[in-house]
Every structure is written in structure tokens, then in C-alpha cells.
Symmetry: C2
Subunit: 310 residues, 2 copies
């Protein structure tokens, strides 16, 4: 049990608060807009019943978890004694630099300063700070209380011990960290997603498939194994002598396929067709309902996975 | 209930037999090697108890399903009166051409002739046949009784009514068809897999991530949603105004990421590193046990999905 500071109490900050409070930590939320803190508490209280029902609160009561949430009146109060600060400000380099400079000036030397950014490299907001070595990216997928992966992205000057401490902290809170060993745009998850989406868009644009059939190919095919095995383990089990054997058999054809693929245009026409295909399935005014369905499906999937042998 | 001919009783032919017998059809297996047919029956009988336990036999008894399996002494007997023939011969164009010519000569005009090939376009084995219009690819993922997707790949001359009939047949048997509207190497599934694997290999080769962390990024991140939503539906729910909004926000960064990515070398050194990383997790002599685990996980996942609202 340690003190965690959540800096910025928007959607991501609220979600992180659930993760760390569920993990047994004392969570102190701060937001420049003071009203965001009580609003966060209400949001979190509304999420806990369904998490409890899905068995995702580690057997604790909702009130025990809510009891570990605290509002901080100032940034200083949030950071005072915290082992880890999770920043969730706007995706703007200038504002992140400013916020990290402030946090670095205030926080004790042992406090790790992590950003939830999905697009900004750690070096861009930490360069030149006295405590640059304790700054890194810790990028979640929304919402992190339902999706375990968190990408840890150090700057070149981040202390490796800080990365290691953050891995342990995240694992203890039920997250699964993946380290981005050198800085790269998009980190790992969005690059893998972009690669698959790019090929999917190419296949639609060139008339090889309808969007609904692409979705089916993932949902009823690739995505099943990928929900409990990664892509490397998947191919390792798909050839008698393992991954090297798989690559010997299919590496050549896979290279040829990718060499023959083209970058899709991302044109308004293509995007419009893809968007319209989604609207045929789901009117825009039902998006909120569908997002709630997605989150219930994620909860049920996590509960299912927790009961399976790994 | 109709008659289905399974031509070639290796691993894929056996798996298809389960799909169609479970779907209520009379299945007639033929293999040039006569001993393969009783061996298939034993294999299938051994699979049914765990499928029954996972609730994946549509409430029928194992014996009811076994009762619909028949061994055919000749290709002619297998095809006689069949509405659909599913070919599972060797992945060799010459041998497929030969087999399709034989099937086309024997089968009644209304019999659809489908190949399970994962690598050979329908035009390559059906060109010039009198019944070329009833030939197509119906590519499953192994094993099809656990993975619903089936890719339907017509040749340019395949009768659209044949594709439509095959879609309906597959859907009735619990499969989810995706149509490859124009011929392309790798069809849809392997192209999407190749795109993601290529980026994954690039990230490892250039030192951005360890293979285990790539696997975690998919298994604990991307793969969760993709197991019940496709990639297009996923992004459609990840921006307030849907897919077009998502592309307006992230399309630019995604294009830049992919433009900056490089094709991995697929070198022996890279493959060796990836293979060794898998061996650290799993000694080669435990692969069979792990494959059995994977299949149990797939069964449990299907049972889980069947109980969820779509």
C-alpha cells in the first residue's frame, strides 16, 4: 500500500484511480479544475457495482475501494509522499512540459513521474528537467481497469531502476506492462494496430473485401487466439518445430504479400465508405449504448480469462 | 440436412467432418489412403467429449454426431448426391488441379466443389474445367470446429450463386463466412496476420521491444476487443463521432508511423532470436501439451462468447 498521485481527473485519470485504489493504494486526485475531483468520485462510484459483479474488485467491497480515494486541494498535496504520479493532462507537448516541470519541482526525489500520453515521447516533456531520470510514459488503453496492458516508455535518460519500479508497481496493481525500449512514435500497441488497420483499409479500398467481412475475419478468427496468446506464441504453436519452422514455411509468402500491398489512400471517399458501413450496423445515436456493451463484454471476458489456466 | 463430401481425411478433413456432422449433415469421408478414414473416425470420437463438455455440440449426443459420419470407398461414392464437397488435399497446384478435374468429372452439376487451401487461388485449380463455375476456395482456420471464420474465395468465373449458397451452408453449420471478392494471395486473414507480424518483427529487430512484451501487447490489449469486435468496429467506438472522427484524429499519425516503419529482414538471426524467446517460455517437447491447452482455451472462449449478448 502506497500513495499514488493522479494528476488530471478526466476520463483517464478516473480510470487510473480505479486501478490503483483496487490495487490497495491510497489514491490522491488533483485537477486544475477543482470540480473535476468530486465528479470523478461519482463516476468511480458508478463503475464499481458492475466491476464487483464481474468479480473484478479482488474480493473487496466497493466502499473499501472508495475509502482509498482522496481529493487533493493542490498539486503539492497530491504529490506529497507519493511513490508514483500518473499524469493525465491534455495531449499537448507545451502543456505537458509545463506540468512535468511543476511536478518535478514539487515532488520528492523518490516519486516516479509517469504520463498517460499516447502520442508524446517522454524525452519531449522531460528534457532538461532536474529530475528527468524519473520521468517516463505509462500509456494505458482506455479503460485501464478493464484492459491490463500498459506501455512503459522511458526517455534515453530515464533511470532503468525507474522503469523497473514502475513495472513492479503496475504488475502489483494487476496491469501487464510492456516496455518500449527505445522511443518510437505510436509506441507498440498503436503501431501494431495501425499495421493491421492499414492492411484492412487496403483490402477494402482495392475491392477485395467488405468492411463487415474484415471485421468478421478478426472477430471470429485472428482475435480469438490473440485474446489469450500473442502473435509470436500463436505462430510458434502453428508449425511442428515451432516459430522458426513456421517462418521457414510461411515467411516467404508473408513477405511477398506485404511487398505487394499498397498504402491505402485514407481519402475522404474511403473513410466515408468505412464510416457508412459502420452506420449501417449502428446509428450514431446508439454509440453510447454500444460502448457500454463493449465495456460489459470486456468485463465478462476478463472474468472468463481469470478462471482459465494460463 | 444434406450430404457433404469430405475429400481428403487428414487433419483439416477430420476437422471439417466435425463441423458438418455437428451441423446436422450426413458426412461422407474419402481419402486416397483407405486407412485414413477409420483413423479419422477415431480422431473425431476422441474430440467429441470435450466439445460436448464445452457445450459446443448444439445439445446433441456424441453418438448422434458419430452416426452421421460415413466412410466412402471411392471418390464417386463420396460425391454421389452431395450438395457440397470440401477438398483437403496436399497444398500443391498440380495435385489440386488433378483432384478438381476428377471431382468435376464425377460430381453432379449441383455439387459445389470447395478447396480448404490456404495458399492457392481458385483460378489456379479450376481454370478450364467444364464446371469451373462451381469451384471456389473455402479456407478455414485450424481447427474449424473451434474457429468460426471461413474465407470464401471465388475465381473470376465462379458463379455468384455458388458463393451465396456456400455462405448459407457455412452459416447454417455455425461458421462465419468472409468473402474474398477478388483473388489475392493470402486471402484476408493471413494478410492481416502478416501485416501485424511484420510490424511486430520490425519492433523486435530494431530493438524497440522484446518478443514477450509484443505478445503481451496483443494478449492483454488489442486482442481483447478484437475477440468480439473487428478492427473497424473497435475504432468506430473510440471517437465521439465514430470511425470518420477517429480517422480525422489518428489517421495522420497512423500514416506517419507506417511510413517510418521498415520491412524486417526475416534473417536467420532475427528468426533465431524470436524462436529462442519462445523456447525460453516453452521447451519444444511440450508443444503438444500447449496446443491442447490452446484448444481448450478456444473451446472455453467460444462457450463464453455464446453466452454473451452480441
Amino acid at each position: 500500500m502506497a500513495k499514488i498521485a493522479i494528476i488530471g481527473a478526466g476520463l483517464i485519470g478516473r480510470a487510473w484511480s480505479i486501478v490503483f485504489a483496487r490495487g490497495g493504494h491510497d489514491v490522491w486526485l488533483w485537477d486544475p479544475q477543482a470540480s473535476a475531483v468530486p465528479a470523478s468520485r461519482d463516476f468511480i462510484a458508478a463503475r464499481l457495482p458492475e466491476l464487483a459483479e464481474a468479480g473484478l474488485l479482488r474480493g473487496e467491497s466497493e466502499s473499501a475501494i472508495l475509502g482509498r480515494l482522496h481529493g487533493a486541494a493542490t498539486l503539492e498535496q497530491a504529490l506529497d509522499g507519493a511513490v508514483h504520479a500518473q499524469e493525465n493532462g491534455p495531449e499537448d507537448v507545451g502543456r505537458k512540459r509545463e506540468l512535468f516541470a511543476r511536478m518535478d519541482a514539487v515532488a520528492a526525489a523518490h516519486t516516479v513521474l509517469a504520463s498517460s500520453t499516447s502520442t508524446i515521447r517522454a524525452s519531449l516533456f522531460s528534457e532538461g528537467l532536474p529530475g528527468a531520470g524519473r520521468c517516463l510514459v505509462a500509456h494505458p488503453v482506455n479503460p485501464p481497469y478493464l484492459i491490463p496492458i500498459v506501455e512503459l516508455g522511458p526517455a534515453p535518460w530515464t533511470d532503468p531502476a525507474v522503469v523497473q519500479r514502475t513495472r513492479v508497481l503496475m504488475e502489483d496493481a494487476g496491469m501487464v506492462p510492456a516496455t518500449v525500449k527505445k522511443e518510437i512514435d505510436g509506441f507498440l500497441l498503436n503501431r501494431l494496430q495501425a499495421a493491421l488497420l492499414t492492411e484492412a483499409m487496403y483490402l477494402v479500398e482495392e475491392g477485395y473485401a467488405d468492411p463487415a467481412d474484415i471485421d468478421a475475419t478478426v472477430r471470429e478468427g485472428l482475435g480469438l487466439r490473440w485474446s489469450f496468446m500473442g502473435p509470436f506464441e500463436t505462430i510458434d504453436l502453428n508449425a511442428p518445430a515451432g516459430l522458426a519452422d513456421y517462418c521457414a514455411r510461411y515467411g516467404g509468402p508473408f513477405r511477398e504479400m506485404m511487398a505487394a500491398s499498397k498504402t491505402p489512400s485514407w481519402s475522404p471517399d474511403l473513410i466515408g465508405r468505412l464510416h457508412d458501413a459502420q452506420r449501417d450496423r449502428l446509428p450514431m445515436d446508439r454509440q453510447g449504448k454500444r460502448q457500454a456493451w463493449r465495456d460489459r463484454r470486456l468485463m465478462a471476458l476478463l472474468a472468463h480469462k481469470a478462471g482459465q489456466p494460463s
